[in-house]
């Protein structure tokens, strides 16, 4: 490898020997092409005409009135496929194409990354296999159908809790046996080097656009920016453009599930310890021995025990503050936001909305907050309905 893939002590590439050549090949290809004129112009064209970039920055007037300060929404939910995931999939997919690969594999939690990979597999005519935990197959079944419609094979993974971690395990095992012709299109800014760097790069238009849009629409940088953090790709995509703007406060929101104190959450930055899993050193939910703990979150896309290494460094350096938001607050804001703005937010993105709602009345009226709306909530309507029914029953 040319680079060590470190973010302070975090990151690296802790993988079995058999995967090293594939990661080296990917690193080399990324640095060869990411500024290459032909690559950049093809990607820009796809961002614009396939995915729908740039996405708008929308002033959410009624939600702003509710919280008592100014809230702007970065509309990644409007992208093709319904989430920011397509940014990364177009980038990595194009890289795979330039490398001459013809087969794609990916893991998925909420199904958004799986769907985006399936779309890109169809777009580029590549054979696509998506690994997905059985719990997620069930709770995100609409996305499973969509992936199949795009021609992908969905491989249900029954190990563990049948969630994102288990899907990654199985995708890595499959890759080990098929490294020679298969490109692993990893879905978040986590995993072994070079993924955290590659994914940040392909998600960086979120922040670059948002920063320019703020200057254009407001004439100033925002006071606060915030995004939900699962593996950390939509968040790093937004944050990376603002890291040097010292006056901009940056907040990452992790899923506190049923509450940090209950242990039933997926918030390693808030309540984890440094460890190594899936090729990277990061904050991790684990027991004394280092066995990985089961996680819990209402949002499948955030239900993961680790988090991207750059976020770990940003936490330790203090540049970004990471907080947790519980399922209940997430469900609540889903409803509130839909009624205020006529926009259904993904449950993942609703974590960032819930954090902002909790600041109601605490910030000066001229405060400008930018929230990354990483995805749309159509996929979550069933979950919201079921938990409303459950809540109604338990209150009888």
């Amino acid at each position: 490898m040319k680079h060590d893939g470190r973010f302070g002590e975090f990151g690296g590439f802790y993988v079995p020997e058999v995967l090293i050549p594939a990661l080296e090949e990917m690193e080399e290809a990324f640095y060869k092409y990411y500024q290459d004129e032909k690559f950049v112009s093809e990607l820009d064209n796809l961002y614009k005409n396939y995915a729908g970039r740039p996405t708008p920055l929308f002033y959410a007037e009624r939600f702003s009135r509710l919280v008592g300060f100014k809230v702007y929404i970065k509309r990644e939910d409007l992208l093709h496929g319904g989430a920011h995931k397509v940014n990364n999939c177009l980038g990595q997919g194009l890289l795979a194409k330039f490398m001459g690969k013809t087969k794609l594999i990916a893991e998925t939690g909420a199904g958004q990354h799986g769907l985006a990979t399936a779309m890109i597999g169809a777009l580029f005519g590549m054979e696509t296999k998506i690994f997905m935990g059985v719990t997620d197959v069930e709770r995100q079944s609409v996305n499973v159908h969509k992936m199949k419609l795009c021609g992908a094979e969905v491989v249900p993974v029954a190990d563990g809790t049948g969630t994102l971690k288990d899907a990654i395990n199985e995708a890595l095992r499959y890759w080990t046996s098929n490294v020679e012709d298969t490109f692993y299109l990893f879905g978040t800014a986590c995993g072994p080097h070079p993924y955290p760097t590659i994914v940040r790069h392909f998600q960086s238009p979120i922040g670059i656009e948002a920063r320019a849009q703020c200057l254009e629409q407001i004439g100033a940088l925002p006071d606060v920016i915030t995004a939900c953090v699962g593996g950390g790709s939509n968040a790093i995509g937004l944050f990376s453009a603002f890291l040097d703007d010292e006056d901009v406060e940056i907040i990452g929101v992790e899923p506190a599930g049923r509450g940090i104190a209950t242990g039933k959450h997926a918030a390693p930055l808030v309540a984890g310890k440094v460890g190594v899993l899936h090729g990277t050193k990061m904050y991790l939910m684990q027991d004394e021995d280092g066995q990985i703990l089961e996680t819990e979150s209402i949002s499948a896309g955030l239900d993961y025990p680790g988090v991207g290494p750059e976020h770990c460094l940003l936490k330790d350096s203090g540049r970004v503050r990471y907080v947790g938001v519980e399922d209940e607050a997430v469900l609540y804001v889903f409803n509130v936001f839909a009624k205020c703005e006529g926009i259904l937010p993904a449950l993942e993105s609703s974590h960032a909305l819930a954090y902002v709602l909790a600041q109601k009345g605490k910030l000066p009226a001229d405060t400008v907050v930018v929230i990354n709306l990483s995805g749309r909530g159509d996929k979550d309507v069933g979950i919201v309905e079921r938990s409303e029914n459950a809540a109604a029953k338990s209150s009888l």
């Binding site: 802790y14 090293i20 395990n169 890595l172 080990t176 004394e288």
Partner: protein, 265 residues
Amino acid sequence: MRTYKQVFSELKHAALIPFFVIGDPDIDSSFEIVKAAIDSGADVLELGIAFSDPIADGPTIQKADIRALDNGVTVAKALEFIKKVKAYKDIPIGLLMYYNLIFQYGLEKFYEDFHNAGVNSVLVADLSIDDADEIAPAINAAGLDTVFMVTPNTEVKRIELIASKTTGFIYTVSLLGVTGGRQELSDMVRPLVAKLKSVTDVPVCVGFGVSTAEHATQLAKAGADGVIIGSRLVKIIEKNPGDTAKAVTEISTFLKEVKTAIAAV
């Protein structure tokens, strides 16, 4: 304490190296099984400490990890287990495990405690030669041998680097893939062993997919200094739930058959 050097220089045939997950299916049965393997001719033991997310393992060893964890194995219990095995017989032991367990225990303390218990080497499945420097000081301080993996897609330059950092043996992965029993030996393995032999004098032991006496014989003929048999043995444990005696008998019979076969090469 018996060393790898002694084993590989004294043996007239390829070393027989069975692999088990410590505490599979439970600590007591696991000890009976390991004793039987020693009595049936094991020259070196390869032992795994169960991990919740074994990405280099196929379904057979994944299930063994789950059995062991469900029945309460911990890193501390694995340490006691090794002491008991060494008290039964001074046989070289290589651990095969995942990095997070070592990292949480504390590198220096881990290597020191396990070396004192009688472990000769620790192969970390998810740590390649590139990160060897991270663990080297702790390994050297404790005085352990090093074992690293080579796979069929490892380039010659890298093989040379790996060999130069290996004092125990090269864990040669016979195929591109995860652990698990296979019908046939991969056709990548013979050229790989030949390549390794032309590059280094470090002993070459072959694992992943080695499932029959015939496989072991072929590998010994190809020049392997040792054969590592894992999933095939672990499968016997899986197939005999609650019947350790039967698992012990089947494992003993199989290992004796393999030993006879490789001794005849």
